[in-house]
């Protein structure tokens, strides 16, 4: 079955005064229909940029400098702007981190829903309003027929994120990119929103790219998980494998630093050092300066993402050592 989304060797660059920064380098992954792919990694790893590149909203002068993005096998990264716009919202929905600022404060939520629905369909005003009502009902807004005429500031954060979900799902997209959809919310409502996201996407048959810092959410929600480091994927595989038996030393460190997941909670492992800046990404494997198991090839040769067990991992520990190159 063709994946809903295929990202092939994606590279995103930001030209700056101090030279060109490569925020995403050679990132490849697939998302199957109905699948939830979790994306984790430290702050600045390139998670949001990856999502933004997929939906075609990288702010100029930033640009996709290489690779391809395929939606159901069809290239979308080189579409003319107007065609890409028609895909946004219609085939790929996106939810951002902060529900408090995602809605235009000057318009009633009904207006914003109807506007979105009518942009992507030929429904009449009243039919679109009916659809908006049923969407609000679906995302669990109480008394939608009165709340539809409320302004965003009249909703709590959790309720606003429900409205945002309704907006993202308004045109039945095949893929929903959720960029830390609960980070800005109260802990008490985070779980509700994640459960809602998962249920809605399952019901509407939408695949999900779920970007988050919360490994607990990943463990409960995702089918597969991609671990990003310095603009690259370090490891990607079924969520159980990656959490229970991580392969990449970075993933091991990441899992070890999370109390609820550490097998021996007395000894929380902290990865020494911090992620490199984009201006100074180390040669070879970008993780090698912090890696406890770095060896000969790591500082010089960049490991490719290669299959290992049921995952894929970019690490020389698992791949044949490049003898010819090392001999030089």
């Amino acid at each position: 079955m063709t994946p809903v989304l295929s990202v092939r060797n994606l590279k995103v660059e930001f030209p700056t005064r101090r030279g060109v920064l490569t925020a995403i380098d050679d990132v490849s992954f697939d998302i199957a229909p109905g699948e939830v792919l979790g994306v984790v990694g430290e702050s600045g790893a390139g998670k949001s940029i990856t999502g933004t590149a997929v939906i075609g909203l990288i702010e100029p002068p930033g640009r996709i400098a290489g690779g391809e993005v395929l939606l159901r096998g069809q290239r979308i990264d080189n579409l003319p702007p107007e065609q890409m716009r028609k895909i946004r919202g219609k085939r790929i929905g996106m939810v951002f981190q902060d529900p408090l600022t995602s809605l235009n404060p000057l318009y009633r939520i009904g207006y914003q829903l109807v506007e979105t629905i009518r942009t992507h369909s030929s429904l009449s005003e009243s039919a679109a309003r009916k659809k908006a009502l049923s969407l609000l009902e679906e995302v669990g807004i109480p008394a939608p027929d009165t709340r539809i005429d409320a302004y965003p500031h009249q909703f709590s954060g959790g309720m606003r994120q429900r409205v945002v979900l309704a907006l993202a799902l308004a045109a039945e997209p095949e893929l929903v990119i959720a960029d830390e959809p609960t980070t800005a919310l109260d802990v008490s409502v985070q779980a509700q929103i994640i459960a809602l996201l998962k249920r809605l996407c399952a019901q509407h048959g939408a695949a999900v790219m779920l970007i988050t810092h919360d490994m607990g959410v990943i463990a409960e929600t995702a089918d597969r998980v991609a671990v990003m480091y310095a603009g690259r994927i370090a490891e990607i595989g079924p969520v159980r494998e990656v959490i229970k038996a991580p392969l990449h030393p970075y993933t091991k460190g990441l899992m070890g630093s999370i109390p609820s997941l550490a097998h021996d909670s007395d000894r929380l492992v902290q990865i020494p050092g911090s992620m490199p800046r984009l201006t100074a990404i180390p040669s070879g494997c970008p993780f090698h300066p912090r890696c406890p198991r770095a060896f000969v090839p790591c500082p010089t040769f960049r490991p490719e993402l290669q299959p290992e067990q049921s995952s894929q991992v970019a690490c020389w520990l698992y791949h044949p050592f490049p003898v010819t190159a090392a001999a030089l």
């Binding site: 919202g89 409320a150 009249q154």
Partner: protein, 325 residues
């Protein structure tokens, strides 16, 4: 909403009383009002009588209360120069200033807003750069210089458009308007540009800055992610949010346009209140000065009030009667 209006009204009254106090101080203590009103041949008895009649021997608080009461009834006394009621003099000049101010404000909005939007949406285009460079000139050149340059360019060099006066006016009730005659309209062009240019560049830069800010917000990003057309995003979502703060400033600018009109009025000999005020200053005609002060303050406060109310209408977050969440 009612409480909001009442609170704003009370604030407005406090401001007006403060200005009245200043105007009163000016009237009462800059020179002696009696000396200003009478000739040299007036006897000491007559002066004392006048002083008594004017109530200048009453306690100062009572004098101030009387001043406020009179001012509220538009009774500002007689002009020292013309010996006629100040209110008649002002009423005569008022339409000229208002027409000039509104023409300038309209010009600055109609040109400034589209230019600001354009330069925000097309940040890197050469036209934007030209607009921005031109706006620097508009901001840095003093009004009187712009006026003189325009007079030099159009009436003097090209021989078109009048360089002074208001042209023919038509009287409609108490109002005289220059908007209904060709010569009146022609006469309005240069003064309106002169007075409006500074505000126009200000509004353009304000709209541009505000719009760039709005374009960076999450709700614009989300609007794009929902696949809305560029038109809906830029003009439906971004422009509306841009205009909320711009409206406030533009409203307040109208007040300062009226206040600054006096420079333009003197350059173009425009028969408005500003010119009257300037002459009053030259002749220490305190009643006209204090009446002008009060009037301009009143206009400022009224505009402020209207802007606040409009703000509440446009921005639902400010409405006090918002339905509870």
């Amino acid at each position: 909403m009612l409480a909001f209006i009442i609170r704003r009204l009370l604030q407005a009254i406090v401001v007006m009383l403060t200005v009245a106090l200043i105007a009163f101080t000016l009237f009462r203590f800059v020179g002696d009002p009696v000396n200003m009103m009478v000739g040299i041949e007036t006897t000491a008895e007559e002066r004392a009588q006048l002083r008594q009649d004017l109530g200048l021997n009453d306690p100062i608080v009572i004098q101030f209360a009387r001043f406020v009461g009179n001012s509220a009834r538009l009774n500002f006394g007689n002009s020292y120069q013309f010996k006629t009621p100040v209110i008649d003099l002002i009423a005569d000049r008022f339409p000229a200033t208002m027409e000039l101010a509104f023409a300038s404000a309209l010009l600055s909005l109609l040109v400034g807003i589209p230019m600001g939007v354009y330069t925000a949406l097309h940040r890197r285009s050469w036209l934007s750069n030209i607009f921005l460079a031109a706006s620097l000139i508009g901001i840095s050149l003093p009004t009187f210089l712009i006026g003189i340059l325009l007079i030099f360019l159009f009436p003097v060099t090209l021989g078109i458009l009048p360089s002074f006066g208001r042209g023919e006016v038509v009287r409609i009730g108490f109002w005289t308007t220059g908007l209904l005659t060709a010569s009146g309209l022609k006469a309005l062009v240069l003064p309106a540009i002169t007075l409006g240019l500074f505000q126009m560049t200000l509004i353009m830069r304000l709209v541009r800055g505000e719009m760039l800010e709005v374009l960076r917000t999450d709700y614009i990003k989300f609007a794009r992610a929902r696949g809305l057309t560029d038109r809906a995003v830029n003009f439906g979502h971004a422009l509306k949010n841009t205009l909320v703060p711009v409206m406030t400033i533009a409203g307040l600018q109208l007040g300062s346009i009226i206040a600054f009109a006096l420079i333009t009025e003197s350059v173009f000999q425009w028969p408005g209140m500003g010119l009257l005020f300037l002459k009053a200053v030259q002749n220490v005609d305190i009643p006209i000065m204090s009446a002008y002060l009060l009037l301009v303050a009143f206009i400022f406060v009224t505009i402020n009030l209207i802007v606040d109310l409009l703000y509440a209408v446009v921005d639902p977050r400010i409405r006090i009667d918002a339905r509870p969440a």
